[in-house]
Symmetry: C2
Subunit: 240 residues, 2 copies
């Protein structure tokens, strides 16, 4: 059953943050506060006096999803991330002797921009898409046999309203930990798991109510699954 | 007369080299030996303990052509060049207050690669063109109103034979100092100027011979110009 894919797996995510002045970055501080509480390793690249190549490589081997998170400087990641690439991602490590230790892992990009979304297109103020700007990272993913996730852009963080920021927290957490693809089934499973976790954290006297909510959510989800199946059947008949 | 364009101008070129181990790089040492003797400033970015932003910016203002020269690491320039970009090319300097101090200057890229030319295309080992990999630099040029020169790639320098290396010296010198576009007329003017310079350096007893050679070159050039004009006329009539 594809809809249950990844629901019970425990996935580990590594978030590599590159920012030369992290403490001064409101967006990076916000994202740090928004991190999921479990199964996420967070690392600030520029925060280390000297990169420990062996340890960085070992860490990459252990995780399932790698997130590169940075502000866009001159249509690319800051120099700190490039230094990390140039140092940690040796040729021998990435594809030497046809061993590909990163093969099958996922690579996601969380990129903040000072310009709004429409700037990133031909004829826009920046004149190129984020996909085009980050093509070198996509090529790196291809070389390492990493699965490239669609980019997670955050345009003009400082202009976001409160409801947009709340939405960003959820979307960001899903980008870090939800199994791919970002399908309805995977979203449902992800939210259901979060609900179970929340209910378990409730005080004893609220457990019954919490479980009731969880069971209603589950029923709705089953109902939705049935509807989805029916729709799929109708679509199949149409295609014939 | 377009064919004489730039022939008597003195153009200054700045070559910014980024390489973390310059002394160990045979290609970079070769290119350093191949530099034209005049009107070229050569600077090794990583060779400086700390970048002097004001001085770097002043230097950029003074020159006519800026060359970024580096090996391709993970489909981009090394971290050193990115650090230079992030530090020296402040927003205020590049396009603040709608002043564009670099407008109209030329930006060229000399990039060495470990992989052969066919690797840089869809389906090739690297899966993307050099143009696509270096799109962020082209976008930077566009933002700064710099004129982007076609990339000057050097594929697998260590496999070049001696005649190819000699050709490389000439092509490299032309890329650094010849007026654009790379037309027949501009090439002729460039070679003619080099010949005049060489003749002047000859000992007195060889001056007469040298001047004879230069004058034959000039006659041939005039003859070639006439042929070019004739061809252009024929082509015009065909187009009618």
């Amino acid at each position: 059953m594809k809809k249950c894919e990844g629901a019970d797996e425990v996935m580990t995510t590594l978030v590599l943050v590159s920012h030369p002045q992290l403490a001064d970055s409101t967006s990076q501080q916000f994202l740090k506060e928004s991190l999921p509480s479990q199964n996420v390793i967070w690392e600030h690249i520029e925060g280390q006096a000297k990169l420990d190549v062996a340890q960085e490589q070992a860490q990459l081997r252990q995780v399932d999803r790698i997130i590169l998170q940075f502000p866009l400087y001159w249509y690319a990641a800051p120099a700190g991330l490039k230094a990390w690439e140039d140092t940690v991602l040796t040729r021998t490590f990435v594809y030497g002797d046809h061993r590909y230790p990163l093969a099958g892992k996922e690579l996601g990009i969380v990129v903040t921009t000072g310009m709004p979304e429409p700037a990133f297109q031909r004829g826009g103020a920046e004149g190129l898409t984020l996909d085009a700007a980050l093509a070198p990272l996509a090529a790196l993913a291809q070389r390492a046999k990493l699965t490239w996730l669609p980019i997670f852009p955050i345009y003009q963080f400082s202009y976001l309203e409160e409801p947009e920021k709340l939405q960003l927290v959820v979307d960001y957490q899903r980008y870090l930990t939800q199994p791919q693809p970002d399908s309805l089934a995977n979203r449902q499973a992800w939210f259901a798991q979060r609900l179970v976790d929340k209910v378990q954290q409730l005080p004893a006297e609220q457990q019954a109510t919490g479980q009731l909510i969880a069971s209603v959510f589950d029923q709705n989800r089953e109902h939705l699954d049935q509807l989805t199946d029916t729709l799929a059947m109708i679509k199949e008949q149409e295609d014939d």
